[in-house]
Symmetry: D2
Subunit: 319 residues, 4 copies
């Protein structure tokens, strides 16, 4: 039973998507959405394809495999899938019977390393999926940040046009909880709420989710919050770059990955919470800085100030 709040939220989302035929379901979190959708969409012998950085591949405790499905990993440098690297996965799964059948392409926008898809890139992936009878499923846990990035040329209705299913993340963009899953392809819609209940994803008080999305999409709030997060990330990037530090990847969204000397990282860790992302060499590592709708300008300024104190004047990198 959808509550009034949820019904209204769904109505509003359909307006933003400029499409009345999609099915929209509100779930509590990203892992829950991924596992419920992917297991509902696939038959037992079918597999998902994801970039090696894909959230479902490493950071969800095998949630997809726990529903019985293999996730095929594709090594990429920038977190993004293309027709060419998807095809490479198809090419090694040609042995009927003895191998899983790749059936669903999972991409994240922005990716787990902050990069975003351009309209042209997404169109290419979408065409390839359609031509190869693959379901295109887009993890939009951080979609707001992608859509509000300076380098973005996609709009919400584009996702309806290009994906078979995708979701609009609330939780990482100001909501207490909640992801809005949009199912476009008709054959994927049937009985979806059964799958939600079976996976523990049907909330008794659904209005808790409905109200989140109602408020986020009443006016421009969802995008305002995302723009703020991106702006804070931009200020950080600019200042870090000005000090001469390189980046692991050039990210236009609210996750950035600067590379610092390890001794700088050790000092920063005393006052700031972040992940050390990857080792670059014995003396340097990249870290992940994530800004949000709640990040204060003063916090950014203070981080930059602290970093400056830790940075030698001439050449940061060669410390």
């Amino acid at each position: 039973m959808k509550t009034v709040f949820t019904a209204e939220a769904v109505e509003r989302l359909k307006q933003k998507l400029k499409n009345n035929h999609v099915d929209i379901h509100l779930l509590s979190g990203g892992t829950q959405t991924n596992l419920t959708a992917i297991s509902a969409f696939l038959r037992p012998h079918e597999a998902a394809i994801a970039a090696n950085t894909g959230h479902i591949l490493v950071h969800e405790t095998g949630a997809i495999e726990a529903t019985g499905h293999k996730v095929i990993s594709i090594e990429v440098n920038d977190g993004k899938l293309t027709p060419w690297n998807i095809k490479s996965a198809l090419d090694i799964h040609t042995d009927d019977e003895h191998m899983v059948k790749p059936k669903l392409v999972y991409i994240s926008n922005p990716t787990e390393i902050g990069s975003i898809y351009t309209k042209s890139e997404l169109e290419q992936v979408s065409s390839f999926c359609q031509a190869n009878n693959l379901i295109l499923f887009i993890d939009g846990a951080r979609l707001g940040s992608a859509l509000c990035s300076g380098k973005n040329d996609l709009e919400l209705p584009d996702f309806v046009r290009l994906a078979d299913a995708f979701y609009i993340g609330g939780k990482k963009n100001g909501a207490l909880l909640g992801e809005a899953l949009v199912i476009i392809k008709d054959s994927l819609k049937e009985d979806f709420r059964f799958h939600m209940k079976q996976k523990g994803a049907l909330m008794a008080k659904g209005r808790l989710l409905g109200i989140q999305f109602l408020e986020l999409f009443k006016g421009d709030l969802y995008f305002e919050l995302a723009r703020h997060a991106n702006k804070m990330a931009g200020q950080l990037s600019e200042a870090i770059r000005a000090m001469g530090y390189p980046f692991f990847i050039d990210s236009p969204s609210n996750q950035i990955f600067p590379i610092f000397p390890n001794r700088v990282i050790e000092q920063l860790e005393k006052n700031y919470a972040f992940y050390v992302w990857s080792k670059v060499d014995d003396a340097h590592s990249s870290i992940r800085l994530v800004t949000s709708w709640a990040t204060k300008e003063e916090a950014v300024a203070s981080f930059i100030e602290d970093l400056k104190k830790l940075t030698e004047p001439k050449n940061a990198w060669h410390n």
Copy 2:
């Protein structure tokens, strides 16, 4: 990472349980808690035993089976398991290899039809489980109502003493969402948060759950809310009984099951939302009335008033 709110809520719950050695995890709903706990506790060939009315048996879209485990049904009249009926399930699963191995006993308190366990009954079930190497798992989605029932003689610490794991339901007792799972048996504690993440039950903003339980158990709020729900159910029961209507089962909690002529039910349905529980004969059915912390005294009075108007003076049953 447990937030401060969650850590405090857990601390408070441990005080109420008078036990510092239990593990407490906050999950969002009952189905999610049941499927995460049961699949974490059992090996692939092990099964759960439940009364035929058990929530996991019929109302969770096969959530337990979806994790690979059979639920063995025991026919009972009052929703409750006893050493004798549990033993009947063990007795038909004696064929090594060809049958599942019953390993976990699932009971609900109150049961799905409103009955509650006495201390003596629960002690008997607990002893039997221990003697037979069975895990005793108690679904307490409505535990507040049981504990505040006039017929109850159990207290929270009794559950720690008698169960291997149980949960304290927040969602059906005033919280926006949330169940507090208490794991007592040491061997069931290991790695539990891995299972939560894998099943999509680890909330990014865990404080949403922590705050609910913090407020409910700060003072006496949890019990106040439950007492109110029970009181409203009691007023309904008393008035309905006074009008001469029988009950499907004598329930001391906040779910009651009066039996009405079908034509009365049809009239009531116009103004009130309830389930028709079961057909009694061609002209009569039982319905389920659930009161809550939010049920207003006026609403109860109005229901009684309306029922009176629909009731013939002499003998309600023989209409």
Copy 3:
């Protein structure tokens, strides 16, 4: 890759089935066939319906549940499903979302207690399934015995006409191993060998299975073996009935269930291997006697002789 032997066996089976459009797969045993087929045919939220005596319900260590699906049990006395009792299961699964969706009807012919379906009964079940969009799947692990029973009026092509999938058991009718699964409904055929491989059911040396069925169906061997088993069971039944013993169920196939005083059973157990099927009262139980293609006439005669010695002249039952 199907071997020559397997291809030939499949060809021969298609001739016996008088149908060239079915898909036929050879698997090693009944549990393997049941779990591979049912999990391939159902989506995650869909369930199978079976009589309470159904092999998948009790004697396969939860194999179906281990693939994620609930098996709904229907209490029956004679092991058989009818449109009426199947409907009773549908009637309690009307709550969208919160309950599994019954989708496949599993019947065994002969049933696990030796009864068989008449053509008219199977037509009724088949029509009901078709009208209600249910898959009809027939476990024929002992099909030979049913087809060769004196009370049978079904032929192999009838199963193609009435079922969506069924199998012809080799293992319990003289083969070393092997069940021939026949898939009739087109939508169930796709990618079936992927499911076989995934469940460990694709034999490297498939000819081992092919040769079994080739020999069984070259001439009339399959039916000869079944007729012999039935004949031996008939001789046993007749003699036991003549001595005045009642039967738990009147079985026309190669499993019979006579009721004996417990002291007689204890004596018989010294020389014969059989299951005690069920307790009738404190002094009597039914036992299951299964004859096979390999049962010798002398063994039957000796059993009857021994039983006579244990039987009081006047009234066997009242001993």
Copy 4:
């Protein structure tokens, strides 16, 4: 119920293993053994680690994932795991809760590309597993070939000493079907036959498996057959090397991987059945040649003869 044949086969295997405390189960094939054992050994959040060439990773249609478990892939060149590359997988799975917990190391001997483990290598892997609380599981589908290789220094009892469970492949070494799974670690033994039944791996006529192993291990037959297969592979290798062709990998067992010009491969395919293993450059590929107990010396000679005719006198590689 183990048959007499099976009991005898198990007895004989225990003698060959020089250990009376192991549990031995006979299953029909490799995929079935892998999926039954691994799903029995692991809890839901635990994962297997395998080399990227591992059979469970690519050639079993996601059988392990279908039981709910992730298989972590490690890129290696020679098909073999070492403490160092296993450690690399552990190092990226340090995030409690959000990642699966690596728990079982799967290796094959010989590997899927024909290489074999030395005693020293296996001891290192075994020690590392023990030190890190990892289960060591060895796929011995082709174990005979490894043990009879000229470069082997392992004996059957070494596997009992070094592995937690392993199996001795019958099917690829002359048996009609059958793998003998040996469970050494006590905690992995409990209830194993329940898992076999649940996965459809318990054969009704177990003697079919028992007889295979009884005959193979009565005298020296198992090793004779393996030696013959290796000898045939050795004759092929020697002749191919003498003609100047390189190899994809130097394999001492009964699978060899010579590299030929594509035009040579096309000609060979007309008369011989083999897999093209991998593309080396635009004009060359490696193929997989597998010899067996049944490969005739004349067939090897004829292959060599045919290859000679296709080979230019001077420099095979540069054709």
